[in-house]
Symmetry: C2
Subunit: 249 residues, 2 copies
């Protein structure tokens, strides 16, 4: 492989794809496509259908996504998992493939491991990134709202950070990603407003918003029910706290 | 106007446009298009050419973007400016237009005023947002790098915040937007790494990266020269500081 193009495809709406993404799919010799296991076929199906619609002649090589082991040190587990994925890519690629494309959910820059996995390949291919719509933009578009207040900062963080450290310092708005545990429950719900979305951009999109005290439990319940019926869930949310200091604008 | 669709068009690469953006341009009766004054014709030209390429039958109504006044209270000036822009939209729109589209640089959620201006319209139209590629994704794609470290938070902030408050609390990575003054110069440059980009996604894209101590002055000089030759500049950057506590991963 001489060249690896990571193509951001957005969050599940096939129309999130950009013209640059389509050009990149068409110029690849082969698209490497992950199978994420039983119950997640619709995720692989979306990727297959994007290739079929926009680059119908392009060959596809599928691989089974390794499962990350539970327990132990988080960072070590993630590193070992990335090593395994790089080996799975190499095993799936025919030696003839010189320019490989990989469709990345959302955008390759945001809480995505693909760039770190690509860095493990030997010899290293030239890596190109085609940006895609992230869950942040899909969330704010669905709620028809800005991410930030005027001239104010926003923190992008993870569920794990929110559980371990509480409200992120330095901003009154925070977007939380990679949260499998509704970690907003660890916050004092008073004066926190939430805009939540699951399956953003997809036909099954679910949205909720309100003061955390009022809608928090409802989100937990809706999330559990949706995950049980779909077999998987992807969700994200934006939180705004009422600034603690009365002088803030 | 019954319906206003805000269409994120990315950062200047015409191929940043999404299929959803194209569908939205085609389904509008009329596209409202800002002229930002002498020397910025290429920005209006990009919008005109997107409409001509993807929705050639759609009517365009142009308006002159009011100029924000300098000095005085920042928040009050911004509010007055948004009022003025809303009036300029209303003056430019023929009464026959029922479904209006507006092409928004980047994404309508991120340091963009369009949603706040739309909220000033009376009667209020139904407002729809089509997400677009932001400067954050264009920056990280150009530098072929992730925005975040594994499981770590990132702050999105403004040049003004960086000047007034120094390094944003709560994260070791920060993206800085809306910075006309290279505000990174206010930071202690030791142990800060910068990835900078201007005209992201455009043919004139300029990238620099390195330790702030080494490349900071070079960025200031390159930015000045580019702005003088183009007549305008849009740039953004990601900063990473070496965590102050030695125990950090």
């Amino acid at each position: 492989m001489d060249r690896l193009t990571l193509i951001g495809i957005g969050t599940g709406n096939p129309d999130h794809v950009t013209l640059a993404g389509i050009v990149a799919m068409r110029s690849a010799d082969l698209i490497l496509l992950p199978r994420k296991g039983p119950g997640k076929d619709d995720l692989a199906d979306l990727r297959r259908s994007l290739v079929a619609s926009h680059a119908p002649g392009t060959e596809i090589a599928e691989f089974d996504m390794p499962v990350r082991s539970e327990g132990g040190d988080y960072r070590q587990k993630v590193d070992a998992w990335h090593d395994e994925i790089a080996r799975a890519w190499e095993a799936a690629l025919p030696s003839s493939a010189s320019h490989v494309g990989l469709l990345v959910w959302g955008d390759p820059s945001l809480y995505d491991s693909t760039l770190r996995i690509a860095a493990r390949l030997e010899p290293a291919p030239e890596t190109v990134v085609v940006p895609g719509i992230t869950a942040l933009q899909a969330l704010t578009a669905a709620h028809v709202m800005p991410l930030n207040d005027i001239n104010a900062p926003v923190v992008i963080t993870t569920g794990r950070q929110l559980r371990d450290r509480g409200w992120p310092e330095g901003a009154d708005r925070a977007v939380v990603m990679l949260d499998g545990e509704c970690s907003f429950r660890k916050l004092d719900p008073e004066d926190v407003y939430i805009w939540w979305g699951a399956y953003l951009g997809m036909p099954g999109q679910i949205l909720r918003h309100g003061w955390l005290e009022k809608v928090g439990d409802e989100i937990v319940t809706a999330r559990e029910a949706a995950r049980a019926s779909h077999g998987w869930i992807m969700d994200t949310y934006l939180l705004r706290r009422t600034p603690p200091a009365p002088s803030s604008a």
